[in-house]
Amino acid sequence: MLQTAKATFHRNMISMIRAYPWSFFLSHILSGIYTVLFAYFTYTYVFEGVLDSRFSNYAGTNDYLSYVFLGGALFSFAVSTLMNVSRSLITEQREGTLEALLLTPSSRKGYFLGNVTQQITRTLLEFLIILIFAFLLGLQFKHIHFLSAIFIWFCAVIGFFSQALLLGSVMLYFRDTYITQNTLFVTMAFVSGVTFPIGYLPEWVAPLSWMMPLTPALEAFRHSVLEGQGLAASGSQLLHLSFLSFLYLIVGSLGIKKTEKIVVEKIFS
């Protein structure tokens, strides 16, 4: 598995250096920045800095801008991870290399692991640029619990990776990238607490929130960055995130295995 992961990491790194996907890189940064700017202007000029009394109850903080800035940055990171990992197999199919890949006895987990570790080198940069931009607009880091934030970020990566496996199998099955992933991303932005706490949402939307690894990841990340709390304070969120990661990893792995066969059959039938 590790040999496949290492080789795939190396292959993607070479491809990235030879033809850097500037448009993806910029669009991910810009969408994060737009989220931050939208929240800033809305808060400053529409609501004139006045918050609903329920906000601090739901969010655990009165600092709305920092709340949204972190939401925008982690959402952008989640989108990049989901997009890059889930598109990998369908890209192989479009570029005519899927058959050559499926001919080998390589581990599919190793293949995806190589993909996710390589793409982190790019998406982490995007994430940091958005955080720097948010810092200039007022994001506060004075209470940050570094170790806890890094650990939660790492757990979030596993969660997004597992979700990407399931998304990838759905995309490969329908041989579609645009509709499937954009529907998911819009839903995630709405139900995961990116720009407002999920407490504002109607009850019937709650199951959708719980299904997104971004929801517990964001809650835990805000605890450690904005409130400076350790891991113990985010125990329930980490448990929730671990459960979703495990579930999506199993369903996604099985889904990818089954979809590969269906796709090859579809191509030849």
């Binding site: 040999q3 496949t4 290492k6 080789a7 795939t8 190396h10 292959r11 070479i14 491809s15 030879r18 033809a19 570029e95 005519g96 290399t97 058959e99 050559a100 890949l101 499926l102 001919l103 080998t104 006895p105 390589s106 066969k261 090859v264 059959e265 030849f268 039938s269």
Partner: protein, 329 residues
């Protein structure tokens, strides 16, 4: 040995009848097919488009699962032990796919070698050897997107050999290649089978390629095996007649009558064609026996000059077309 035993494959394809109504149509791609590939042998799989050749290769290489029957490779089942089978087989297809265009030739081979779990030192040696064998040493560090079609095809061959497979599947390997490169590839395939003891299964639309390379030929039609034999015996079993074409400046009546009399004794058929400029006559004789010397002796006795002589033996291509026509009829 690779054993295909009673294998069938049915595809289900969607047929959209109305906007919301979809039905499924079943297509039998391969039906009750059995054959074997021994190491060191080259097997040809022939048939018209849609005969089931590519589906057969995909099943043998584990890309597709058969609906019934079994495929075993050196005792390993292609469905249950697919990872073991994958390490024993490989496939080379015609065209420019199955390669990463942004990587160099060496990087492509290195990536695929790693996917086969080959150790670093062995892989490095094998890559150098394969690049040399396919004549890509000088272009080894050039990105594939800058390769010509022939170079990409040669790199595909190297990729297909990176795991040192015991059984190699070649699906139209010379498709679109220039004649010298195709010739080189054919000689290389022969070497792989005869000197390196690899079992090879070849599909091709170029019948000459199959006649030149294959020890045995299987002919498929609509997924079913219709004939299996050596190329020579297969041709002879369908077409026994040779054609003798003789060009002469003129054919006097007396000579023609003598010739007809001679041919009757051999049960041969004759056809006479006059050239457009009326300067020569072509005599076409179809016979199952060797009568060239008798015909030439007769023409010589009548003091006729032979301008040109061609003996045409039946070709495998004719045999396949004939079989296909017979089945359609």
């Amino acid at each position: 040995m690779l054993i295909v035993d009673g294998v069938s494959k049915v595809y289900q394809s969607k047929v959209r009848e109305k906007l919301w109504k979809t039905t499924y149509k079943e297509v039998k791609a391969v039906e009750d097919l059995s054959f074997q590939i021994e190491p060191g042998k080259i097997i040809g799989l022939l048939g018209m488009n849609g005969a089931g050749k590519t589906t057969t290769i995909k099943m043998c290489t584990t890309l597709l699962e058969p609906n019934s029957g079994s495929i075993t490779v050196d005792g390993y089942d292609a469905v249950k032990d697919d990872r073991k089978v994958k390490s024993l087989v490989n496939m080379i297809a015609g065209g420019e796919r199955m390669l990463y265009w942004r990587l160099t030739g060496r990087e492509n081979l290195n990536y695929f070698g790693n996917l086969y779990g080959i150790k670093e030192a062995t892989l490095k040696q094998r890559i150098d050897l394969l690049l040399k064998e396919v004549g890509l040493e000088d272009a080894a560090d050039t990105p594939v997107e800058q390769y010509s079609k022939g170079m990409k095809q040669r790199l595909q061959i190297a990729r297909g050999l990176i795991n040192d497979p015991k059984y190699l599947f070649l699906d139209e390997p010379t498709l679109g290649l220039d004649a010298p490169i195709a010739k080189h590839l054919r000689s290389y395939v022969k070497t792989l089978a005869k000197e390196k003891n690899k079992g090879v299964l070849l599909t091709s639309h170029y019948i000459d390629e199959v006649e030149e390379l294959c020890d045995e030929v299987y002919i498929l039609d609509k997924g079913r095996l219709i004939l299996h034999d050596t190329p020579e015996r297969l041709t002879a079993s369908v077409f026994k007649e040779n054609s003798l074409h003789i060009w002469v400046p003129a054919l006097p009546n007396r000579t023609q009558k003598e010739l007809e009399k001679l041919l009757r004794t051999y049960h041969a058929k004759m056809e006479i064609k006059q050239s457009i400029d009326l300067e020569e006559i072509e005599i076409i004789i179809k016979t199952e026996q060797e009568i060239t010397s008798s015909v030439l002796a007769l023409l010589s006795n009548h003091q006729l000059t032979v301008l040109k002589l061609v003996v045409e033996q039946p070709k495998l291509e004719d045999a396949i077309l004939h079989l296909a026509e017979r089945r359609i009829g």
